[in-house]
């Protein structure tokens, strides 16, 4: 992945957290495009319409959450309809270890980070992927 044509998708219902993520990503990758979604439903639309490379995904959201988002992508992948495989970083306030582990095993999920987000974790992950 080249830092010149990176497209991020932030799927997060909390406006404040979206703002913090966006600000952080803009600082790290000023040339990148950053798309925002307030819930999983908007997230799915943006995913299929705009093909982001990297997705920051919250789990609990109104209307549609991260679980359904991941289920849709997984089904698409299994049926060979999905054209690409994004890198998903789940950022969640879920605390139950078992749940977190299960999320980590999901299709396209590269990492599960607990809220509050420690930005250095995110920074080193992204550095590994983006040249």
């Amino acid at each position: 992945m080249n830092k010149k044509n990176i497209r991020f998708l932030i799927v997060e219902d909390d406006e404040m957290i979206r703002l913090i993520h966006k600000d952080f990503l803009k600082d790290l990758y000023p040339g990148s495009e950053i798309i925002e979604a307030e819930n999983g439903a908007q997230g799915i639309c943006h995913y299929f319409e705009n093909h982001p490379n990297i997705i920051l995904l919250d789990m609990m959201m109104p209307i549609m959450g991260g679980e359904a988002f991941l289920d849709i992508l997984e089904e698409g992948h299994q049926c060979n309809i999905l054209k690409d495989k994004p890198k998903i970083i789940v950022v969640t306030a879920i605390k139950e270890v078992k749940e977190l582990m299960n999320i980590g095993k999901r299709f396209a999920v590269e990492a599960v980070i607990s809220k509050p987000l420690v930005q250095n974790q995110l920074k080193s992950l992204l550095k590994d992927w983006i040249s």
Binding site: D14, L19, I20, D23, A93
Partner: protein, 123 residues
């Protein structure tokens, strides 16, 4: 598991109200951004408080749990540790549909929310 003792304000005394330093660290010491972020947070506290009141009257446990979870996440993100801890307890109470416990926690939450707002005003 039923909690026989109702929570009190004191249970959450140890947690800091607003760890500004931590919050600033998280956003690379951008004071202006912090102000914007706190504004949005306070606005969302008011909104969510109203929604919680409504949903509590209708005992919509799923919604109550989701909102408590949201408050937990954003409170911890902004360094409002105490509020986040209370919201966490609210989330757990909503999962177990414990009305009395949730009501009490909601009262504590409202007090703590006010405390945060005052704290923020001072700094």
């Amino acid at each position: 598991m039923i909690n026989l003792t109702l929570p009190k304000n004191d249970d959450f005394m140890a947690a800091p109200v607003f760890e500004i330093e931590k919050a600033l660290n998280r956003i690379h010491n951008k004071k202006e951004l912090l102000e914007r972020v706190v504004d949005i947070f306070v606005k969302s506290l008011h909104e969510r408080k109203d929604i919680l009141e409504n949903e509590l009257n209708n005992e919509n446990w799923e919604t109550l749990g989701t909102i408590a979870h949201s408050i937990k996440g954003s409170s911890w993100t902004i360094g409002a540790q105490k509020l986040g801890n209370i919201a966490y307890e609210m989330e757990k109470a909503a999962d177990l549909k414990e009305l009395t416990r949730f009501r009490r926690l909601f009262q504590i939450f409202q007090t703590a929310a006010q405390e945060f707002i005052e704290f923020d005003k001072k700094f």
